[in-house]
């Protein structure tokens, strides 16, 4: 196995609370040493990280890789490539594929395709219910054996309180979280954006914040009833943040994620009927965005997840009502987080890395999120000061449905290493 030295970067490891200029020495796929003036065997490859940050590879608990079933929009290979280009060494793939990832076999397929792609690690999330129909529990045990790290009916909420209760109870056997897309469908059905003045002006049917908050409250109450671990996906409202704060104060086993678009944009982005501003949950109001930011700052929101949702351009080139929900996010997540959270002083850089790597690893019990000696060498080297424009042609995902095209972001991954292997190198220069 190759050896690799990452030389002279600012090494930040939230798992150990360390932050300082050092060399990182990788051997046999693992972190071998961190320090200064590490003695090298001749011929060891060197990554020059001067002026850059060296951190545990980013981990995204919430992506849609579209394979099987929607390979025209994304495949596991292109999604995993997009991930490493964004600095992610591991992503968790939601099960709303076709067929739904709801069995040992379909989970195994995702694992195999990811290994074949050889880019980011891809951890499948199995469906909670067969076919995501909200009726019968899937075989959690067999899916976990095949590689699933959590269960979710994402895209839809876990349909009934009874199903959520049984899922949380059953999931305890395997120590996995139940990740829920919180939406009361009886309030949300037909809605295409946040309910508020902009929706009223545009004549679009709104989704009230209450639709999310009712389900967040339900899930918190069921977490208390069952002792199970609820992971709340893509939180978008100030009410949800308050509910989670309350749940955590009670010591309940509740974790939550928020997306870069929800801490960056508001519903005003829907003006002009831009379908790249259509996602679910929808972009909310400035006060909601602020609550999400504060939640990330104080830890009420545990982590950042992209909800990477590729769609072929044809399907987004539609009337707003008809266009599908979601945007790609793997390659813009870091640049948005640095621009929106770190640059304004809301989050210190080590805390951001915690929220994008160490904490998500902990929540889903994944390897990674650490540069501890002996840990798998999943590492990102990024330039935290580079300003770069998001250009369609530079994205590695198969789809480019992003509301951030043309925007200037701050900070970008240069080298991404998975298991000691350089899987992405932005520069043309070879690793010396």
């Amino acid at each position: 196995m190759t050896e690799l030295l990452i030389r002279g970067g600012r090494v930040i490891d939230p798992s150990r609370g360390t932050d300082g200029v050092a060399d990182l020495y990788i051997k046999d796929g693992r972190i071998e040493a961190v320090g200064r003036n590490i003695a090298l065997d001749p011929g060891v490859e060197v990554v020059d990280a001067a002026g850059k940050v060296v951190a545990p590879g980013l981990i995204d608990l919430h992506v849609h890789l579209r394979e099987p079933g929607f390979e025209h929009a994304e495949t596991i290979a292109t999604g995993a490539l997009s991930a490493v280009a964004g600095g992610f060494t591991a992503v968790c793939a939601m099960p709303n594929t076709d067929p739904v990832t709801d069995s040992q076999a379909t989970v195994g397929f995702v694992v195999r395709q990811a290994i074949r792609a050889g880019k980011a690690r891809v951890y499948p999330i199995g469906a909670v219910s067969l076919g995501q129909k909200g009726e019968q529990l899937t075989e959690f045990g067999e899916m976990v054996q095949a590689g699933a790290v959590a269960v979710s009916d994402d895209g839809k909420p876990v349909a009934t309180s009874h199903l959520m209760r049984t899922a949380l109870e059953y999931a305890r056997t395997f120590g996995i979280p139940v990740a829920d897309h919180c939406e009361d469908m009886s309030l949300a059905t037909g809605g295409v954006m946040h309910e508020g003045l902009i929706a009223a002006r545009l004549g679009l049917q709104g989704i009230p914040s209450a639709a999310e908050e009712i389900m967040v409250a339900r899930d918190i109450i069921l977490a208390e009833l069952t002792g199970g671990h609820v992971h709340l996906c893509h939180m978008s409202t100030r009410g949800s943040v308050e509910l989670i704060r309350w749940a955590k104060a009670k010591g309940l086993n509740v974790t939550a994620e928020a997306t870069p678009h929800h801490f960056t944009l508001t519903h005003e982005r829907c003006l002009g009927y831009d379908t790249n501003a259509k996602m679910n949950p929808p972009l909310r109001e400035a006060a909601d965005r602020e609550a999400i930011r504060q939640g990330l700052r104080d830890g009420t929101i545990d982590c950042i997840a992209s909800d990477h949702a590729p769609h072929h351009y044809d399907t987004k080139e539609r009337e707003f009502d008809e266009a599908p929900n979601g945007i790609v996010g793997l390659e813009t997540a870091l640049g948005l987080a640095l621009r929106e959270l770190v640059e304004p002083g809301l989050l210190p850089l080590p805390d951001l890395i915690a929220r994008m790597s160490t904490v998500p690893a902990r929540i889903f019990h994944l390897p990674g999120g650490t540069l501890a000696i002996g840990a798998p060498a999943d590492v990102v080297v990024f330039d935290p000061t580079r300003r770069w424009a998001v250009r369609r042609e530079d994205l590695h995902s198969k789809s480019t449905n992003s509301p951030f095209l043309g925007e200037t972001l701050l900070g970008q991954a240069d080298v991404t290493i998975v298991g000691g292997r350089v899987v992405f190198n932005r520069s043309d220069r070879p690793i010396s």
Partner: protein, 321 residues
């Protein structure tokens, strides 16, 4: 030809200035007379080709546009969704590109999705006129409403206009709110709380929960059609109760002690949102609205084609002389 005073498209009144709206109303004035002539035709749009693209059923608006186009001497084609490639699953953008490829000058579009007119306008070079997009806007309806109000009151500024009924689902309401506010009128909305978007208060629109209060306050009521499917979707319990609580009736109007002018964009549900003796009564301007519709649409077509504000003194667009 002068530069286009309205921009390329007419998508909604939200996007126009007060001056632009007044220009349309003023341009409509001389066009009223064309429809009163024995030979109802002027050459203003001779040689222009216009497609009326209707993705939703419409009688009044479609015919009104068609008359407006024909009285301006344009060549027109009507496309309805049934029996066209749309019913074969063609997307709006493909329909638009195909029309563009036939080198048409203008598209009048009616579509069930909010934003469809803007979507189309951003993708083709032809002028696009919104004849109603989902719940968003129906600008020519609001323009004809305002022209009718101006005929009756001599002004718009300072008028108190209450828009009554299903504002939530109404493109007519949204266009009227923008147009009237821009021209300095006071605007109120009134109806069951399930059909009244409270957010409009942020624009300076008054909200009356009871129709009696709206009548007491208003100089004119614009009574919206109540879509019958609102009952099945749970917004109101029954049409009977709607009429009892929110219906515009002669008895309620009599209590105002003064004339309250009645507008309705049609088609009416007599005995639901409006009683027949109100619709047919002396304060009703419902038929003058329809007459003004043709003039307003002539004005919009003419101005978007690049016509000068006074068509009688201007050369015909597309004319070689």
């Amino acid at each position: 030809m002068s530069p286009p005073v309205l921009g390329k498209d007419l998508v909604g009144l939200e996007y126009l200035t007060a001056d632009q709206i007044l220009l349309i109303l003023d341009t409509a004035e001389p066009f009223k007379e064309v429809s009163e002539r024995p030979i109802k035709k002027v050459p203003a749009l001779r040689g222009k080709t216009i497609v009326n693209l209707f993705f939703e059923a419409s009688t009044r608006t479609r015919i009104s546009f068609e008359f407006a186009e024909k009285r301006l001497s344009a060549d027109t084609v009507n496309v309805a969704t049934t029996g066209s490639s749309v019913s074969k699953g063609e997307t709006l953008v493909d329909t638009a590109r195909n029309l563009e490829a036939m080198r048409i000058d203008m598209v009048v579009i009616r579509h069930p999705s909010s934003g469809a007119a803007e979507f189309l306008g951003n993708r083709i070079r032809s002028n696009v006129i919104n004849a109603g997009d989902g719940r968003h806007e129906h600008p020519t309806q609001a323009l004809l409403d305002m022209l009718t109000l101006r005929d009756r009151f001599g002004r718009i500024a300072g008028l108190k206009v209450a828009i009554c009924g299903d504002v939530l689902h109404s493109r007519v309401a949204r266009s009227n709110i923008w147009g009237l506010l821009k021209l300095g009128a006071e605007v109120a909305i009134c109806g069951p709380a399930t059909l009244i978007p409270r957010e409009f208060a942020e624009l300076g629109v008054r909200i009356f929960p009871r129709i009696e209060e709206a009548i007491e306050w208003a100089d004119a009521l614009n009574v919206l059609r109540l879509q019958l499917e609102r009952m099945s979707s749970g917004f109101i319990p029954s049409l009977r109760e709607y009429n009892r609580v929110f219906g515009v009736t002669r008895e309620r109007l009599a209590k105002a002690g003064r004339e309250v002018v009645i507008l309705h964009p049609g088609p009416m549900n007599r005995g639901v949102e409006i009683d027949s003796d109100v619709a047919d009564g002396p304060a009703s301007v419902i038929l003058p609205q329809v007459t003004n519709g043709v003039a307003v649409r002539m004005a919009v077509l003419y101005l978007l084609a690049g016509g000068a504000p006074d068509w009688r003194s201007a050369p015909t667009p597309g004319d070689d002389r």
